[in-house]
């Protein structure tokens, strides 16, 4: 019984290795968008187009899409106040197992990761409306980092696929 299970694991491993070999192309693309929520469909199109090239599961695609929306909307709503500004979106896939999306804006310095998490144990009446976006990003991505460099807010979200 034990031997059988082991064999199954080996087969699964082989499939994983095969799959990795099939998609060993590195992806490195970037595009600049207006930091405006109406640009969201364009941002999504850009990301989805690149994700198609790296053969990841539907689940990963929808998680990246969700995290991208939450980050981009946060920048669009808060980075520049009432003013207009840009948001550069970069996607990087190392050809193996790591997907990375980077967002750069030149708005007010702000680290969204310092925001406290919502208390998900409260009842509907007690829960506050809002504040969920950043929390979702932290939950569904494997790594989220904020940097402030050369007057830019840089947020990097990573997913190991």
């Amino acid at each position: 019984m034990y031997g059988k299970a082991e064999q199954f694991d080996d087969m699964t491993m082989l499939e994983v290795l095969y799959k990795k070999r099939k998609v060993d192309k590195e992806i490195k693309e970037e595009e600049v968008f207006n930091a405006d929520v109406n640009e969201l469909p364009k941002v999504r199109e850009f990301i989805e187009h690149e994700l198609e090239k790296c053969d990841c599961s539907m689940k990963v695609v929808s998680q990246i899409n969700l995290a991208v929306e939450e980050v981009f909307v946060n920048i669009a709503k808060h980075a520049y106040g009432e003013k207009n500004g840009d948001c550069k979106v970069k996607i990087y896939f190392n050809g193996e197992n790591t997907l990375e999306v980077t967002f750069e804006d030149s708005g007010l310095p702000f680290n969204p990761l310092t925001r406290g998490n919502p208390d998900t144990a409260l009842s509907a009446d007690e829960r506050e409306i809002g504040g969920l976006g950043i929390y979702i990003i932290k939950e569904i991505m494997d790594d989220v980092q904020y940097m402030n460099e050369d007057g830019k807010n840089i947020l990097v979200i990573k997913k190991y696929i």
Binding site: K59, P118, A121, L122, A124, L132, G133, I136
Partner: protein, 98 residues
């Protein structure tokens, strides 16, 4: 996103299909201004592919309003993607998901 409402005067079922995101959530919000006038509201999410925090905000606000009016709200036929978002955010515990 598409919204379809079916009511018998007492209960209402609102089917939402497509994406409930930052751009489309305001449309759903403007379509549920009178929900307290029904005894029960069912959101049918059979054809809902995607939900983000903007959609969650609309649902939480609807739940709060129905609670206040002593009416019921339930959500049916969610796909796995939508269910995952409810799980992560603790919405599975505060909404009635069937």
């Amino acid at each position: 996103m598409n919204i379809n409402k079916v009511t018998d005067g007492k209960n209402i079922t609102i089917s939402v299909s497509g994406r409930l995101d930052t751009n489309t959530s305001p449309v759903l919000e403007s379509n549920i201004t009178d929900i307290e006038s029904y005894e029960s509201l069912i959101f049918d999410f059979e054809n809902l592919d995607y939900i983000s925090s903007a959609g969650l905000r609309v649902l939480l606000s609807a739940q709060k309003r129905m609670n206040k009016a002593n009416k019921t709200l339930s959500i049916i036929n969610c796909n796995e993607t939508v269910k995952d978002v409810f799980d992560i955010t603790g919405f599975t515990d505060i909404l009635t998901i069937e």
